[in-house]
Structures are given as structure tokens and as C-alpha cells.
């Protein structure tokens, strides 16, 4: 325990995620240990099913990366639309951002899952099935898109107006100013909040399991069901699920905090 004590929130090293993951596993083991005879069976069952759960976690990662890619591209477009001088572009973009920023993830997910058809007919007449996880990915990308748009707008607003004016005096067009002068300066400011949103998005992906996508949560529940649905499985299985997310997300949030501090010190 000695190595744990020097850790505080201000002093975080790479040891922290390891220590906390070990803590999680330890508490899982102690939770199982309350029933002496079940100890072996519950933990053994978990170990048997770990590859299956990790396979589901792979889908979580895939969904989060795809959703983040969609959200970033769409969010940057939406963010630039929000600062457009043309009201016909600006106002719908604002409304769109407002709608998706202020609705819960679950509601947006439901809307996409239930309102988007499960198969589409291509112009050629071919029918294409849209798998549930793709629809869920789109559902997750919408709220992040709105927030990326807001981050971009905030970053553009934080660029001193002298930058705009000097670009104008050098005869840059509006597009060129945005593309070559404003955007490169925004990226630095956008990076920490963007990473925060990636972490949050990944933490929200298990919601897809509610609608039947076989992600880490769906696979965990299926594994518990298949192993006999004993109540003593619940704590170790869910703790294991939390641990794998923690091990993936925690380094990202440490790195984000470090970046935030560095940028705060730099500016």
C-alpha cells in the first residue's frame, strides 16, 4: 500500500491506472469471496467468458472511433456554418446544434434506432441492410457533433480579431482566412475538449446494448445469461466491465489533463 499513498489528484503518474485497476479487481475478488463455495465458480466463469466480453469491447472501440470521425467532420462543418455571415446558413445550424446539445444521448439513440429504416433501397434497386451498430454509431455521433461545433465556435471566438484583420489586409478571402489562418490556431485550443468528448463518447457506447447491439455490455449480459444467470455473477461481471473501460479511458483523461495544463501555461 505504501506506493499508493503519495498519489493525489494533482500528482498522477502512470502507476495510478494500474493501482486502481488492481483495486477494482481486488474488490471483485473480495465481493465473490463472501460466498466461500461460489468463489471458484464465479471467477472461473468470468475468466472463461473474458474473450467474449473483450470481443464486444472491440465493437465499442470501433463505434467510438467511427462516431468520433463522423462527429468531428460534421461538427467542424456545423461550427463554421454557425459563424457564417449569411443568416440562412447560420440560424438552421444554431437550431441543429441546440437540439442535439440539449437532448439526452439515450433519446437521440432511440430516435435514430427507431426512425431510421433497417434497410435502404439503393437507386439501382438493391436492398442494403443497415446493421444496428452502424445506426447506433450515427446516434452517438450526433450529440458529439453538436458539441464539437460548439467547441469550434468557441475556439474561433477566442482568436484575436487582429488575426482576421491582418489576413484581410493581406488580401486573403474569407475561406482562405478560415482555412489557413484561423483553423490551424483553433486546433491547438480544441484538442483537450475534443479528447474529453472522445472519452465521454466511449463511455456512452455501452448504451447501444439497450437496443440489442452486441457490444461489451450486451456480451457481458449474454455471458451471464449463458453461464446460468446466477445472482453472484452480477458484481464480478459488471466490475470487470467497468475495469476494462477504466483501463482504456483513464490514460486518455490523464493525457488530456496534461495537455490542458500545458496549453494553459503556454498561452
Amino acid at each position: 500500500m505504501k506506493t499508493l499513498f503519495p498519489l493525489t489528484i494533482t500528482k498522477i503518474t502512470w502507476r495510478a491506472p494500474l493501482a486502481l485497476a488492481v483495486l477494482c479487481l481486488l474488490s471483485a475478488v473480495t465481493a465473490i469471496a463472501q460466498d466461500g463455495t461460489e468463489r471458484v465458480s464465479a471467477l472461473d466463469t468470468l475468466i472463461v467468458w473474458i474473450p467474449f466480453i473483450l470481443e464486444g469491447f472491440g465493437l465499442n472501440l470501433l463505434m467510438s472511433i467511427l462516431a468520433m470521425a463522423i462527429a468531428t467532420v460534421a461538427g467542424v462543418v456545423l461550427g463554421f456554418m454557425q459563424i457564417s455571415p449569411i443568416a440562412a446558413i447560420r440560424l438552421p445550424a444554431k437550431l441543429f446544434t441546440h437540439l442535439f446539445r440539449n437532448s439526452p444521448w439515450l433519446v437521440i439513440l432511440f430516435a435514430i434506432m427507431l426512425l431510421v429504416p433497417f434497410q435502404i433501397t439503393l437507386p439501382g434497386g438493391d436492398k442494403v441492410l443497415i446493421p444496428d451498430w452502424i445506426k447506433a454509431t450515427i446516434g452517438f455521433s450526433l450529440p458529439v457533433m453538436a458539441n464539437v461545433a460548439e467547441i469550434l465556435r468557441g475556439a474561433v471566438m477566442s482568436i484575436p480579431s487582429g488575426q482576421w484583420e491582418s489576413a484581410e489586409s493581406l488580401a486573403f478571402s474569407r475561406y482562405q482566412t478560415l482555412r489557413y489562418i484561423i483553423l490551424p490556431q483553433c486546433i491547438r485550443r480544441m484538442l483537450p475538449p475534443w479528447m474529453n468528448w472522445y472519452a465521454l463518447l466511449t463511455l456512452m457506447t455501452p448504451m447501444a446494448a439497450i437496443l440489442g447491439v452486441g457490444d461489451a455490455l450486451g456480451h457481458t449480459q449474454a455471458a451471464m445469461e449463458a453461464a446460468g444467470a446466477k445472482p453472484e455473477f452480477l458484481i464480478p461481471f459488471y466490475l470487470f466491465l467497468m475495469t476494462i473501460f477504466f483501463v482504456f479511458i483513464y490514460p486518455i483523461s490523464i493525457y488530456t489533463r496534461r495537455l490542458e495544463r500545458r496549453f494553459a501555461a503556454g498561452s
Binding site: 499513498f5 503519495p6 486502481l20 483495486l23 455490455l217 477504466f246 483523461s253
Partner: protein, 245 residues
Amino acid sequence: MIAPFFERLNKTAGLNFSPFYDAYDWGRLLEGMWISVELIACIIAVSLVIGVVGAGAQTSKSRVIRFLIAAYIEIFRNTPPIVQLLFFYFGLGAITPQVDMGGWYEPIIGSFGWAVIAIGIFGGSYNVEIFRSGIEAVPSTTTEAAESLGFSNFKIFVYITLPLAFRFCLPALTNNIISLAKTASLAYVIAVPEITYTLSSIWSDNVNVPEMMILLFAYYIILVAMIAKGMHLLEKRLALPGYGQ
């Protein structure tokens, strides 16, 4: 007046807003809204208490307490809230004692209670950090002045630091409260009959998903706007001359 209009809308345009002309669905909608508001209020209350207590404990001199608070924050901020909720409801719910209700047994804490606890603890992990930054913004000269007037450490925290810190962190707190109000819809997964749950049962009965989805989006947008307005008024009301704009 309203009911015939929506009935006609259903017959002519095929837009079935059943709660507006069907008394049973109307009752369900009202109850869902009420439980949702209740749930959100309880969750916010729990998270605020945790935030204040946690931020107070973080100023403690004991390393163990500081480490425990830091670990709590990191664990709850870096794991999926839905899994936390399921863990609390199914995992811990299975080992909480049951009470005899005269013939059948019911757990002491129902799904509503677990939703409040789980989402409240999740939100509290953000509030601790928010309050901590507020406390750090209180000038040390103020607390020193209080100390020289003979306030004890506890009294300084309650009467001097906290009221000031609360004002400093209100903008960040507003954001977190809004995000918590939205996260409260997660209670759907453990069958708390709040708005998302009741509307989903209405759309399963009447097959009017798009219309109910519009209602659901409208509900949340109005709710968020109301919370934002309320917090903004509070911020104005509490504003101290000489701080901020």
C-alpha cells in the same frame, strides 16, 4: 378544444399524438413527466451533497482521505454511467436486505432509489472537482481574515469559503446540472417509469414513434431551457458587487 383538434389531426394527417386526446395516455404522460422531474431533483440534490462533502474532504490533511476522494472521482468519471447504474441496481441490489411487505418481499431500495444513488454518485464525482475549483478561487486573505476573527476551521468552511465558492462555481455547476438532467434518462434501463420509459410504452402501444419522439425532444429542450434560466436567475440574485461583471 384541444382533444378534437388532435383527434382530427390523427384522422386527416395521420399524426397520432395520442396523449392529447386519450385520457389514459395523457395520465401516463403526466406521470412520466412528474417522475422525471422528481428523479432529476433527487439526483441533483444527492450530487450536490456529495460535491460539497467531497470538496471539503479534499482539503483534509489526511492523505488517505484525499486518496480515497481522488480514487472515487477517477473511478466514476472514467467508467460508463450505464454500467455503474446496472452494477448498483443488479449487483448491489441483489445483496441489499429485503423487507416483508406482508406476504411478499421487496428490496429496501427500489429502482427509483438506485437510479438516484447511482446517477447521483456519478454526478457527484464531477461536482467535487467543480466545488474544489470554486474553493481554490476564494482568496486566502478572506479565510485569514475569518481566522483572525476567531472562526474555527469548520466554521470558516461553512460560513466563509462555501458561500463564496458556490458563487464562483455557479457557471460550471449549471453545465453539470444540465448534463445530469439529461443523464437521468438513463434510469430507463432499470425501468424507472420516467418520461422516456412512459413515452416508449405509449409508442409501443400506439405505434406512433415519430410523434412521441417529437414530444420527448420538446420535453428535454424545454426542461434544459428552464434549468438554464433558473440557474441564470440564481446567479444574478447571488451576484456580489465587486466580483465578476
